[in-house]
């Protein structure tokens, strides 16, 4: 016996709402990805300031040497950019280590909801949101398991977690800049040193040179006479 699923009007509306949310989620992800791509392009272009002199003065005229020079510079730029976030991360971990040494508790979790940073956050239990019974599915609201409250024992978590998050995000920003500059180096190595004959026509060039010989005053290839 085949049982058909009967959809009521409210079920249909629910399905349409879920589809719209699904599409919106992907649109938002697409916009965020586009933003990340634009930011990485901007980060990559900042490499041009540091390598332009060498390229303009033709100190480097080889693709491999340019890549080696630019990669070396890229790592030095990353080191200089990552110093501050590394110091912040180091200080936060030193604070955590001092707390563990003072309390003799090396199993302390600074993100814990009882004695950690989680005590100042709203936390929900999503395990019972969707329940399936015989032939039907019910949706329940998530239950709140923790509301914000201050705990004296969690002082280390209150200091460690914000500093850790700031340092980690800042360091990841530096790493993203590093990746963006690496991609820019690959692109510049091709565009600067690769020779392209797509728009070159030998016959056109010959005709231009003949024209310049016939009309030397009007030719743009005679800069000395234009002075």
């Amino acid at each position: 016996m085949i049982t058909l699923i009967k959809l009521t009007e409210s079920d249909k509306r629910l399905i349409i709402a879920f589809l719209l949310i699904f599409i919106l989620v992907f649109v938002i992800i697409g916009l965020i990805g586009y933003l990340i791509v634009r930011i990485m392009r901007w980060q990559g272009r900042r490499l041009d300031n540091n390598v332009s002199d060498v390229v303009y003065t033709r100190v480097i005229t080889d693709k491999k040497k340019f890549g080696k020079y630019a990669r070396k510079k890229n790592w030095i730029m990353f080191y200089k950019a990552a110093r501050i976030p590394m110091i912040i991360l180091l200080c936060s971990f030193v604070l955590l280590l001092i707390r563990d040494l003072c309390y003799h508790d090396f199993a302390y979790n600074p993100f814990d909801k009882d004695v950690g940073f989680g005590s100042v956050l709203f936390l929900w239990d999503f395990s019972k949101v969707f329940t399936f019974s015989t032939g039907s599915m019910s949706i329940n609201a998530p239950t709140v398991i923790n509301s914000p409250h201050l705990v004296a024992e969690a002082w280390c978590g209150y200091i460690f977690v914000p500093f850790f998050l700031v340092g980690a995000l800042w360091y990841l920003w530096s790493v993203q800049s590093l990746i963006a500059r690496s991609l820019r180096i690959r692109k510049l190595s091709d565009s600067i040193f690769n020779k392209n004959l797509d728009n070159f026509n030998q016959n056109e060039q010959m005709m231009n040179s003949l024209n310049s010989q016939q009309n030397p005053n009007n030719s743009p290839q005679n800069p000395n006479q234009n002075k």
């Binding site: 060498v54 003065t57 070396k72 730029m77």
Partner: protein
């Protein structure tokens, strides 16, 4: 509406690419920590040795020298001159154009003279001979030379003073070298050199007056 669905398509694509991007990011983060530690210790060693971990590499120093050298001098060939889009190049362009081209060697003494000592009518502080010797090997004789006689007389003086190796600056040395390559100076044969030495010896033994006509 097209942009809406394009964004939806890009979102789907980025969802598939996200795990690979995160793997690459994690890899670069781990390698970055290792290289950071290496550069940290390297910077400490360089600090105690009197240097520092500079973002300016030797290639940058060389490029700066070329850019700065092409502004006061005309020693940079046109091929190595910066691109005209650069502001530095725009400043250099009129200076390069004002100086005579290298294909005309007869004009060079004029440019060197004007560049080092100014025009002959202009009063300069370099008239005393002692001060002139510190500058280019084109010495005070150039000031006293009339324009018509410049071609031959300055050449011989330049060739003589070139051998003395007076402490001139790099620019002057480069200019003198350029002049000397285009200048003919009659070379003395070994017999003539020996005669000169014998004459000097005779002068020292015979009389107390030592007149050296070479300096004239």
């Amino acid at each position: 509406m097209d942009g809406f669905f394009k964004s939806f398509g890009k979102g789907l694509l980025y969802i598939f690419v996200l795990p690979f991007f995160l793997i690459v990011l994690a890899g670069y983060a781990v390698v970055g920590v290792l290289i950071f530690i290496f550069l940290f210790f390297k910077s400490i060693i360089l600090f105690f040795s009197g240097r520092s971990l500079k973002i300016e590499l030797p290639e940058d120093v060389r490029a700066k020298e070329i850019i700065q050298g092409s502004v006061p001098n005309n020693n940079v060939s046109p091929d190595s001159a910066p691109v005209s889009n650069d502001n530095v190049a725009e400043q250099e362009a009129p200076i390069v154009e004002d100086l005579p081209p290298e294909s005309e060697p007869t004009d060079k003494p004029q440019s060197v003279e004007e560049a080092c000592f100014g025009k002959p009518n202009e009063p300069t502080n370099e008239q005393p001979k002692e001060e002139n010797k510190d500058f280019a090997n084109v010495a005070p004789e150039v000031n006293s030379i009339q324009e018509g006689e410049k071609g031959n007389y300055s050449e011989t003086n330049i060739s003589q003073e070139q051998t003395e190796n007076v402490g001139a600056n790099d620019n002057a040395d480069i200019k003198v070298d350029e002049i000397s390559t285009d200048v003919y100076s009659p070379k003395k044969s070994s017999y003539e050199m020996n005669d000169d030495i014998k004459d000097d010896d005779d002068d020292d033994s015979s009389s107390g007056v030592d007149i050296n006509f070479k300096d004239f």
